[in-house]
């Protein structure tokens, strides 16, 4: 899987009688292995762009390509397969499956991928150790702190080494220590495993980790700078 190309991407939402512009003719290319931050005020279109790239939402018009695949033309099943095999998601609100333990949450994607049980268990234990949750494998989300839950979510997103990780305000509910730890982990994965990261954030500290900063406003890209 290689670069992401968005061409003339448009998306509007209707709220009552009001039409809200989510994306307004967005053109963007993200190369493999990049570490990109999308910044901008609330409603600027960061999350909408992430959702469109991740195949969670379909644009009204325009094209999204991931390598040779036209994401905007895939059906629901194919989009699910693409997300399963190529994309890792980290959401603002930790989004763990409450009935599964930390390790089971991490294993979930690999289970759906059909990875053998032994390999799943080994990889999930390793990754939980890497994110500092050794010994907490059997805890359910309700018995983990916010930071711990977010680390489980990160472990789940990266455990199967996706080509792309899309993170939406990943540090919003974390204290500064946990946020720094998380961003350090993201940087390391980006450098060592060449996983592409696209992170939507308001957080200046998060932006400082990025090597490319894209600013959005009213659904448009207003600046795109390398750092």
């Amino acid at each position: 899987m290689s670069a992401i190309h968005c061409h003339q991407l448009c998306k509007t939402f209707t709220q009552g009688d009001e039409v809200i512009t989510g994306l307004d003719h967005v053109d963007i290319t993200i190369e493999e292995g990049e570490f990109v931050c999308l910044s901008g005020p609330s409603g600027s279109g960061k999350t909408t762009l992430l959702n469109a790239i991740g195949g969670l939402d379909t644009p009204d018009s325009g094209e999204i390509r991931m390598g040779d695949i036209r994401i905007d033309q895939l059906n629901r099943g194919s989009l699910a397969d693409m997300r399963l095999h190529h994309i890792g998601f980290v959401f603002q609100a930790y989004n763990l499956i409450p009935v599964l333990s930390a390790q089971e949450n991490v294993e979930f994607v690999m289970q759906v991928q059909g990875v053998a049980a032994e390999k799943r268990a080994r990889k999930s234990v390793e990754i939980l150790k890497e994110v500092g949750l050794q010994g907490m494998e059997d805890r359910r989300p309700a018995h983990l702190s916010g930071g711990q839950q977010q680390r489980v979510a990160v472990a789940r997103a990266i455990v199967s080494q996706p080509d792309l990780v899309l993170a939406d305000e990943p540090t919003a509910n974390l204290d500064s220590v946990a946020a720094d730890h998380l961003m350090g982990l993201f940087s390391e994965l980006n450098e060592h495993h060449r996983i592409t990261f696209v992170i939507a954030t308001h957080d200046k500290r998060v932006m400082s980790y990025a090597r490319r900063l894209i600013k959005m406003q009213d659904g448009k890209i207003i600046s795109d700078e390398a750092q």
Partner: protein
């Protein structure tokens, strides 16, 4: 299918744990399913027992599971339409076909007269030692005795007929009928037994004498009206019927019970239909609870469904997971319901006294003791209907969950 097998472990864990997220709701639903399944099987066992009793009574009155007779006998049951006693190939077939019992009998209209009254009756000449298995009359003797041999000179009449004739045990009565030459044959008999039938109407109608005694009276030595065959079970007589049919001469007619009495046959055939309708009606009541439970369970998990979609779970797997959740609920409910049914029916199989409503039951041809009949067929039917319809009613909520927009679902708190 391979994909579904690979994912079964994942899906099973999710389904099982989701089922117990809301214990109270799951227990209430399990209670409803268990009681519903118990009601299906218990009531079916009672109905089956009642209909079995009515059918067995009806078949005893025919009597027999299979009858062989002259082709005109059923239309004109006179002594003219008699047949020879079985011999040769037919006798061998009757002995080797696997019948529980077979016997010959004479049956014809006659008149019985006491010193005060006279009545039209069915005069039945029987082989006494076979009669317990054929009509069950020996067990219904109230006073006196049943006939003891084929040459017994006594007569057994019903209690109601004795009352009508103003006679009693030990008194003599005269029986009159016609021989094959249409001459009146008559002789006096001493009443040696009085029976009380489970169907009171029969007490006035059927009068029993020994077969050889009637042959002599009617001058038809070596001839009988019918050959009666009883199998092990009235439900399963087709093999026996086929075996005997191959050996009977073309001049004779052979009929299974369901061809002789179309009312009994209709009752037998309708029973399975009744059971199915009953099971479906109970399930329809249950299905509202089941669908409501699933809809509530899905409504509470909208965010989570959005999450598993975002993580790459195909819509078909989401349907699979919710259907498996429903199936687990149904299977546990079925397990409890079946166990309850077995525990409550088994102790009643020795008989349930329903004498309070015996008159009404007698009118329908059933006795005053009800024997609930728990059959594997009825249990399998109830379980199959619950599983199939349960899964069908779960498809809509599952499909709606799979069709959720992941972004909207993720934004639902």
């Amino acid at each position: 299918m391979a994909g579904f097998r690979i994912h079964f472990g994942t899906i099973f864990i999710l389904s099982w744990r989701n089922l117990w997220r809301n214990h109270r709701r799951t227990y209430i639903m399990l209670g409803a399913i268990s009681i519903g399944v118990w009601a299906m099987i218990f009531m079916t066992a009672l109905m089956r027992g009642m209909v079995d009793d009515m059918l067995e009574q009806g078949i005893r009155n025919l009597p027999g599971h299979i009858q062989i007779q002259h082709p005109d006998f059923l239309d004109d049951p006179s002594v003219v339409n008699s047949i020879p006693e079985p011999a040769g190939e037919l006798l061998v077939a009757l002995n080797q076909a696997g019948a529980k019992r077979w016997a010959t009998r004479i049956k014809l209209p006659a008149v019985i007269a006491s010193e005060r009254e006279s009545r039209g009756i069915n005069l039945v000449g029987v082989e006494p030692d076979a009669e317990a298995d054929i009509s069950g009359i020996p067990a219904q003797i109230g006073t006196g005795r049943f006939l003891t041999s084929n040459q017994d000179q006594g007569l057994v009449i019903g209690a109601k007929l004795a009352q009508r004739l103003e006679t009693r045990l030990g008194k003599r009565v005269v029986v009159m009928s016609q021989d094959p030459d249409n001459n009146i044959s008559e002789r006096g008999f001493r009443i040696v037994g009085i029976y009380r039938a489970e169907m009171p109407g029969l007490e006035e109608l059927n009068v029993y004498a020994a077969r050889d005694t009637l042959q002599k009276l009617l001058k038809i030595e070596g001839r009988v009206s019918q050959i009666i065959i009883v199998g092990e079970n009235y439900r399963d007589i087709d093999t026996l019927y086929r075996k005997v049919r191959q050996s009977i001469p073309a001049s004779l007619e052979i009929k299974p019970w369901y061809e002789i009495d179309s009312y009994l046959a209709a009752m037998f055939n309708m029973m399975d239909g009744f059971v199915l309708v009953w099971v479906i009606i109970i399930f329809l009541a249950l299905s509202f609870g089941l669908v409501n439970t699933l809809v509530m369970a899905i409504f509470e998990r909208v965010h989570e469904i959005g999450l598993i979609q975002a993580l790459g779970m195909r819509p078909a797997l989401i349907v699979y997971q919710i259907l498996l959740e429903s199936l687990l609920l149904l299977l546990i409910g079925l397990g409890i319901g079946n166990s309850l049914a077995i525990m409550t029916i088994k102790p009643l199989e020795s008989g349930l006294d329903i004498s309070m409503v015996a008159e009404g039951m007698a009118m329908m041809g059933a006795s005053s003791t009800l024997y609930p009949s728990l059959t594997l067929y009825d249990m399998v039917l109830a379980n199959t209907v619950v599983v199939i319809l349960g899964i069908l009613t779960s498809i809509l909520p599952a499909w709606r969950a799979a069709k959720m927009d992941p972004v909207q679902a993720l934004n639902t708190t």
